[in-house]
């Protein structure tokens, strides 16, 4: 359960157990200016869609936590930094930090045990001190996990990755109150230092978690692909009915999976290796050696093989509470690259979309360009006739011109109030999807520009009251034109 990206929870411990945190802050004091900048950005964007979900729990229960935001910024990023350029000194620091934390936990658990006797008395109205203690425990455990995660030396690109939220949620629910947990979750993201390129992944994770069920966001980019990769989402194998294999990330990322035992040359396919082996002597030329290794398994009932992602906290990791195994090695490879690796392939046409799997890039490039048929309601279509069918169906919707043209005109089509109720739903979802897709800030504005109706009060009603107030309007000043409608929306 340990995870390197947990350190941000130091925040809450800082508040509640200042003595314990002091050390950590001193220790991790080398956060660069870049992280802070980045952090600003993430703060801008992320709260914007999280509030609707947790608003009641968050802002009503523990207002004092919100005020404390700036503190943890620093303590957050260095852990990643440490992990990034790994050195023994930092490791030592981490270890001592761990030690300290373990002691803290001991203390707390001890005090809980002490209080345990009083529980029957306070059951109806648990003491606030008890609650505090619980949350302390939560934060310390999380700190522990993250610090321990930072100890893992070889996680190169993985530093970028966020803890996937499913792992956070149970953790939080175990130790603290549900609201507390989710709050921390929200706060976590702004604090984690990531490269620009990895930023979208971050948001995806957030959305993945926050809008589960209703989200098209991740469906567009990640989940769908995972499913087609052979995730067992639809399979519902009972746990234990299959054998779970977990490859190491080096294995996963290796270009070749089949290596010649003699010369060490690597191959992508076993068949190619077998053909290669022929060169090493006659003994490899026998039909038996050349034949495809047969499945003798057909005789005895073989345990189905399923794969686990080596990334801790991932839903595809076997440790996860709602573990969903991957079907094949190829699935593992694609999943790992997509979810936990840097996106190194950039689309040459739009220069915004990035992919970690080459095939994804190629698929995208096929459709990249003028394939987004956009409606004034913000819904996009891959085909023109679909857009026109949509426009024909709904009153008040009209085809939207490409955003660059709109910008030329200076005045964008303002929102039309009348929307069919069903549209609000899809519109909202798509809006999110768009947001997530266009991580590039400018693109993000474009998205807004074209879908004014999403910001009409109506479309946000289902899950918003005051949620948009959190939207940091000031930061959008340079592009005010596109946002001129915002006040009315919020």
């Amino acid at each position: 359960m340990d995870h390197k990206d947990r350190p941000t929870f130091g925040n809450s411990s800082e508040m509640n157990v200042p003595s314990g945190n002091l050390n950590a802050n001193q220790m991790f004091s080398r956060s660069g200016s870049r992280e802070i900048c980045f952090d600003d950005r993430s703060k801008q964007t992320i709260p914007e869609f999280t509030p609707p979900l947790h608003k009641s729990a968050l802002y009503s229960c523990r207002p004092e936590l919100i005020i404390a935001k700036p503190g943890p910024i620093e303590s957050s990023s260095f852990v990643n930094n440490q992990a990034m350029d790994w050195d023994p000194r930092a490791m030592l620091g981490n270890l001592s930090f761990l030690e300290q934390k373990v002691h803290q936990i001991q203390d707390i658990v001890g005090s809980i045990m002490k209080n345990g006797g009083q529980f029957p008395l306070h059951q109806v109205d648990p003491a606030p001190g008890q609650q505090l203690m619980n949350s302390d425990l939560t934060s310390i455990v999380i700190q522990l996990i993250s610090a321990a995660g930072a100890l893992l030396p070889s996680m190169r690109s993985a530093t970028a990755n966020l803890p996937s939220n499913p792992s956070v949620a149970p953790l939080a629910s175990i130790v603290g109150s549900g609201s507390n947990g989710s709050f921390q979750q929200n706060k976590l993201y702004p604090l984690v230092e990531t490269m620009n390129s990895e930023y979208d992944e971050l948001i995806k994770d957030v959305s993945d978690d926050g809008f589960e069920g209703a989200n098209t966001i991740a469906a567009e980019d990640q989940d769908v692909k995972d499913n087609e990769d052979g995730g067992l989402d639809g399979e519902n194998l009972p746990p234990g009915s299959y054998e779970v294999l977990q490859l190491e990330k080096e294995e996963i990322l290796a270009p070749h999976t089949h290596f010649c035992s003699i010369c060490g040359k690597g191959f992508k396919r076993d068949a190619n290796l077998r053909m290669h082996m022929r060169g090493h002597g006659d003994k490899y030329k026998t039909p038996a050696a050349l034949a495809k290794p047969t499945k003798e398994a057909s005789l005895e009932p073989v345990l189905i093989k399923r794969y686990s992602c080596p990334f801790l906290g991932c839903k595809r990791n076997k440790e996860h509470k709602k573990f969903q195994p991957l079907k094949t090695i190829l699935c593992v490879k694609n999943h790992y690259k997509r979810s936990h690796c840097a996106k190194s392939y950039t689309c040459r046409r739009c220069n915004t979309k990035k992919f970690s799997v080459l095939a994804d890039l190629k698929t995208h490039e096929k459709h990249c360009g003028r394939d987004k048929w956009l409606c004034s309601c913000g819904t996009t279509f891959s085909r023109k006739d679909k857009l026109f069918g949509h426009v024909a169906l709904f009153q008040g919707h009209s085809p939207a011109l490409p955003s660059d043209e709109i910008k030329g005109s200076g005045a964008s089509d303002q929102g039309r109030g009348s929307e069919a109720p069903t549209e609000v739903e899809t519109g909202g979802n798509n809006f999110m999807a768009n947001y997530i897709d266009n991580v590039d800030v400018l693109d993000f504005y474009k998205g807004f520009d074209n879908e004014p109706s999403n910001l009409s009060p109506l479309s946000f009603d289902p899950f918003n009251d005051g949620g948009l107030d959190e939207f940091p309007r000031a930061s959008f000043d340079p592009l005010e034109n596109g946002f001129s409608f915002l006040p009315s929306g919020s």
């Binding site: 026109f388 426009v391 024909a392 009209s398 011109l401 030329g408 005109s409």
Partner: protein, 704 residues
């Protein structure tokens, strides 16, 4: 008074004080929207003012209603007095400005204009449109920009957003207008009529914006909009349920959009000319009928009888059907036509027709008013007779180039269709004098007749002159006619407005003088290559004050004095063609410049005109179209100066030898003002070919 002062200050170049003092003199409290009246005349106006005092605004308005025919009358009216001026300003509804740069001033004078026709302004900028939107905010209903350029979507948007009353806009021929402009149009919520012909850059997205934004559209013309497809048109049909008239000619549409079009419950007029994507299959696949459809144009279509009868069976209310250049009209077509009880007009131009086909059309249609068989092959006396005998109410008949018909046909036409008002029978050269005699005898309601290139002689013309209601008579290339026949026309056709005497060589001054005397309503006369006419003719024609279009091409005996007489007498002259009138010189130009302020188009090729004459001509502000080839006295400098001076030019034909002599910068400047140049490279040819020779040549061409 203060109000007056305020208004005055808005007029540039006029001191408010001057106007203020004038207003002190005028006793009327309502101030004049001061502008164009010449200050010299004002004192006189004030003096005369009292005599018209009893006339109320309502009365003035009633008088103005009667003055619609002649634009000069209104001008004169407004010069009577200040109150008349004000009344005229308020009365005017229609404005056709010549130059867009004066728009703001003009609009302040005419505050209640509803129709703005920019067809004379080659360049209308966004600023002008914004001015229109600003000052005619609510009143303007119709804007015609079909001949104008250089405005963009910004101007259109200002019109669409600010003018809530805008119901009609014509943006045809703007091949560079894109979706942005279309989206701007989409903001005119009350738009009812929209023309976008040849707007090739508009795509389905733009049209989609229009379809959604203008739900009240009744008329939509998308002719030659090649950027559009089924999707856009289909969306229009879904969104604009009030469409009455839809022109989809020459578009790349297929059967996919037809069903939704045929579901438009008010659609009356549908044009599908030359839609290559619409074939039999498309028409056969139509499930739904369109009962409201009255006018259907299927010209230049690749449909067979099968598809045609399919669509005709679904449009029972059809009144007009056009099947021009439809491949073959045979007997079997009548089945489709039988259902059309209301069919009044059928056009079969350029079709291959059989006698049986005509006969069956004649028997299956109930009552035709209009029949066009122009350029049909296979029209015989038998076929034509059988169809005209059934339709005694025929008012318009077009048998242009049906070369095989003879007096037999004419006998049946004249005996049954006595209410004919229009008969076009160019190049029906087998018809003899007897035939024309029959026309003159029975068709007294005839208003328009085209006998170009017929075997018409003086006898025939005399018989035709019994049609006293004639307004248009075309007897070009009728070589047998001379003054003797023409005199009868002059004597008995007082309503004649249009007379075409192209290459009727026998005509001399005598005939023309008679026509000029007997036909005071004459507006257009063509005397091209009537080599016999002289200045006498023109002097007599100058009495026809309504003359606006005069062609005396190749009349070498005409000189400047004739033209001068015309320009003094016919103030409404707008088109003048005097090519190869060698004796016309600068003197004629000077008088034209002085008197013919409405001249819009002139052809001066081969005339003896120098820089002086051309420069004088350039002072005519209306002049838009000039053809100046082979002017011996013209120098490049003179040409350049007159091009610069004539700011309203839209089209100039020049000899290509001048191209190298005129500075490129100047040409660019003139082009930027909205003028296009056509460089002609024809050899200098002084001699006129004799008419007989010319006719022989043209007939030889025909035989080949």
């Amino acid at each position: 008074m203060e109000e007056a002062c305020d208004r005055c200050t808005t007029i540039p170049g006029r001191a408010p004080f001057e106007t203020l003092t004038l207003d002190l003199f005028s006793r009327k409290s309502n101030p004049v929207p001061c502008s164009a009246t010449r200050s010299k005349k004002r004192p006189r106006c004030v003096e005369e003012w009292s005599s018209f005092e009893p006339l109320t605004e309502e009365l003035l308005s009633l008088i103005l209603d009667k003055l619609d025919s002649n634009p000069f009358d209104k001008k004169a009216f407004s010069l009577v007095s200040r109150s008349f001026y004000a009344a005229e300003s308020r009365h005017r509804r229609m404005l056709r400005p010549l130059r867009s740069d004066l728009i703001p001033t003009v609009l302040s004078r005419y505050p209640s204009v509803t129709h703005l026709d920019f067809s004379l302004c080659p360049r209308v900028g966004d600023g002008s449109l914004a001015a229109v939107a600003g000052s005619l905010r609510s009143s303007v209903r119709s804007v015609d920009l079909s001949r104008s350029r250089s405005f963009s979507h910004v101007g259109i948007e200002s019109l669409a957003v600010n003018c809530a009353g805008l119901v009609e806009i014509n943006l045809s021929n703007r091949t560079d207008l894109d979706d942005l402009a279309a989206a701007a149009i989409g903001k005119a919520r009350n738009l009812e009529r929209l023309w976008l012909a040849r707007c090739k850059m508009v795509t389905d997205l733009g049209l989609g914006c229009i379809a959604v934004g203008c739900p009240k559209l009744r008329l939509l013309c998308l002719r030659w909009c090649l950027g559009l497809s089924d999707l856009g048109v289909g969306l229009v049909a879904v969104k604009c349920r009030n469409l009455r008239s839809l022109d989809l000619s020459y578009m790349m549409i297929t059967k996919k959009c037809l069903p939704s079009i045929f579901q438009l419950q008010y659609l009356e007029d549908l044009a599908l000319v030359g839609c290559v994507g619409i074939d039999d299959e498309a028409l056969l696949s139509l499930k739904q009928g369109c009962k409201s459809l009255e006018v259907l144009d299927l010209s230049n279509q690749r449909v067979s009888l099968l598809g045609l009868s399919s669509i005709l069976s679904r449009t029972p209310g059809l009144r007009q059907l056009s099947l021009a250049y439809y491949s073959l009209v045979t007997h079997s077509m009548s089945n489709g036509l039988k259902n059309l009880s209301n069919l009044q007009s059928i056009k079969l131009d350029g079709c291959q027709v059989t006698s049986a086909g005509l006969k069956s059309i004649g028997s299956s249609c109930i009552s035709l008013r209009e029949l066009s068989l122009s350029k049909c092959s296979g029209v015989t006396d038998e076929g034509l007779s059988s169809i005209v005998k059934k339709h005694k109410d025929l008012a318009k008949l077009d048998i242009t180039c049906c070369r095989n018909i003879t007096d037999v046909s004419l006998a049946s036409i004249t005996s049954s269709c006595t209410s004919l008002t229009s008969l076009r029978m160019e190049s029906c050269s087998l018809i003899s004098t007897e035939g024309f005699r029959l026309i003159g005898k029975s068709c007294h309601l005839l208003e328009e007749i085209d006998l170009t290139d017929n075997d018409l002689d003086n006898e025939g013309l005399k018989a035709l002159s019994h049609c006293h209601r004639l307004t248009s008579l075309k007897i070009g290339i009728c070589l047998k006619i001379n003054d003797e026949g023409l005199v009868h026309v002059g004597k008995s056709c007082p309503k004649l407005q249009e007379l075409d005497l192209y290459r009727t060589v026998g005509i001399t001054d005598k005939g023309v003088i008679e026509v000029a005397r007997g036909c005071p309503m004459l507006q257009m006369i063509n005397l091209a290559y009537c080599t016999g006419i002289t200045n006498e003719s023109l002097i007599s024609l100058s009495k026809c004050s309504k003359l606006s279009d005069l062609e005396i091409r190749g009349c070498p005996q005409v000189s400047s004095s004739g033209i001068s007489a015309i320009s003094v007498g016919c103030r409404q002259i707008t088109k003048l063609d005097m090519k190869k009138c060698y004796y016309i010189n600068d003197a004629a130009m000077l008088t034209l410049a002085r008197f013919s302020q409405n001249l819009r188009q002139i052809n001066l090729s081969y005339c003896s005109i120098t820089d002086v004459g051309l420069l004088a001509l350039a002072s005519i502000s209306c002049l838009q179209n000039m053809t100046i080839l082979h002017l011996a006295g013209l120098t490049p400098n003179g040409l350049a100066a007159s091009l610069l001076a004539c700011s309203g030019l839209t089209k100039v034909k020049l000899h290509s030898s001048f191209k190298s002599f005129i500075s490129q910068l100047l040409l660019q400047h003139v082009e930027a003002r909205g003028c296009s140049f056509q460089w002609i490279d024809k050899p200098f040819q002084v001699e006129l070919e004799p008419n007989e020779l010319w006719k022989q040549q043209s007939q030889d061409l025909f035989v080949e």
